[in-house]
Amino acid sequence: MSAIYILWLRQIKRYVRSRPRIVASLGQPLLFLLALGFGFGPIFQRAGQGNYIQFLAPGVIAMTVLFTAIFSGIELIWDRQFGFLKETLVAPVPRLLIMIGRTLGGATVAMMQGLIVVVICLLVGFRVTSYAKLPLAFFFMALVAVMFTALGTAIASVLSDFQGFQFVMNFLVMPIFFLSGALFPLTNVPKTLAVVASLDPLAYGVDGLRIALLGVGHFGVAMDAVVLCLITTALLGAGGYLFSRIQV
């Protein structure tokens, strides 16, 4: 347990100490929220879908958690390049525990970043339908955070440097985000897109967040929770396995 704690603590310390990075990484959600939110707002309204900022905010929150979580996981490549990874790999601690500590730390960081964006959304004019359901929203954010930190760790375990990183971003992370329904409603989209979205784990996270924050959704809260829990468990398993096989 102390091993998990110290690895978790290390991630938190690294996050809190890199204030420029915290601020910089808020630029993207802010841009999405303001440019898309106010830009598409009138069209969305005219199409009879209501306030776009209301619709978009949960998507942008999920996006922030997704990106921060993936980066936290992929940070493992830094540790490998700077040599710190070796220090943890020779320690007399099962590698699964090391992976779990890292992942929980990274997920906590993603969660904190997500909470900052929740506050920003509220400042921009987003209104939650029921504050009593906020814990449910945090639950979905936490699942998304753990899931994608585990995915990032799994990916970083098989990459030895940043050369494959661009590939991962363009062919995995970006599609996960754009196909999740974070930016548009999944009702009435072409069938192919609907099928693809239903295979996208983030879609269930975005949907869960919308249900918690706005009271409306696509898949239903139970479905969202079950799918996310299953995929999170699977990715933790896969990440743990790949991490335990790292050779340096």
């Binding site: 102390s2 540790d79 700077f82 040599g83 710190f84 220090e87 007399p92 601690v93 050779q247």
Partner: protein, 264 residues
């Protein structure tokens, strides 16, 4: 304490370690010497569970690190050849992190951290992040960290590279003390022959992945009719500078490096 039999490590066509066997007795200080790229670090990585051997058998305190990795890891401590600190954490935090992972009880941990940081003259800088440290200071911190828990076997992979004579002296005094008082087995590599001669009871010389000679410093000198260990070393491994020779083995090594940037 350490037993290695017919150990081989291949990367594709390139053989980094070609069928080596040796033993290190409990409480012995054993120097593993060889030119750059001879296979020293690869061997240490296989001994310390970081790398899986292609074939052959390794035993640490009777345990096979490939099948009982975690038990084996409890037996040893290591100072790596290349950097292994977290630059964003302070010196103290790096030490503490290590202590927690190795389950050093809290009270002993803070005592030993203070003692070691003072010994290596880093105590005044303990609250500074490591990224502000010079190379020599980082090295000192890594050595202090490697000595924080008392393992049965201590691996020192070129620990004195880039250190001033004062720090080298501190290091070896401390390591010798550990060896004498707590019977810690020491496995070290170095390029400083006089250092190896001074601290090691037995020496193995590796070149191109093969062990070319083994014995006490005295035996190696007699075997080659040399006055110093340095002469014996050159007699055994030749005078060619490895990085500059462009033999086929080196080209292969470069290829292997290109495809596996982190594996040496």
């Amino acid at each position: 304490m350490i037993r290695v039999q017919n150990l081989i490590k291949r990367y594709g066509d390139f053989t980094a370690v070609a069928d080596i066997s040796f033993e290190v007795a409990t409480g012995e200080m054993f120097a593993f010497l060889g030119p750059n790229g001879a296979g020293k670090t690869t061997t240490i990585k296989m001994l310390t569970t970081l790398l899986k051997p292609t074939s052959g058998h390794v035993e640490l305190d009777g345990l096979d690190p490939t099948t009982h990795a975690n038990e084996a890891r409890k037996r040893f401590g290591i100072v790596f050849q290349d950097p292994s600190l977290d630059d964003e954490l302070t010196a103290y935090e790096n030490m503490d992190f290590h202590g927690v992972l190795y389950k050093v009880p809290k009270r002993i941990r803070s005592e030993r951290i203070e003692q070691l940081l003072k010994l290596f003259e880093l105590w005044d800088r303990r609250k500074d992040p490591v990224k502000q440290f010079s190379r020599g200071m980082k090295r000192r911190l890594e050595i202090a960290r490697g000595l924080l828990h008392t393992p049965k076997i201590l691996f020192l992979d070129e620990p004195t590279l880039g250190l001033d004579p004062q720090t080298r002296n501190q290091l070896w005094t401390h390591v010798k003390k550990l060896n004498a008082e707590e019977r810690v087995t020491v496995f070290l590599t170095t390029h400083y022959m006089e250092e190896a001669e001074r601290v090691a009871q037995r020496i193995a010389i590796i070149d191109h992945g093969k062990i070319v000679a083994q014995g006490t410093p005295q035996e190696l000198k007699q075997q080659t009719n040399s006055e110093t260990l340095e002469q014996a070393f050159l007699a055994l491994t030749g005078t060619t500078i490895r990085e500059e020779s462009a033999g086929s083995a080196d080209q292969m090594r470069n290829m292997a490096r290109m495809f596996r940037p982190r594996q040496k």
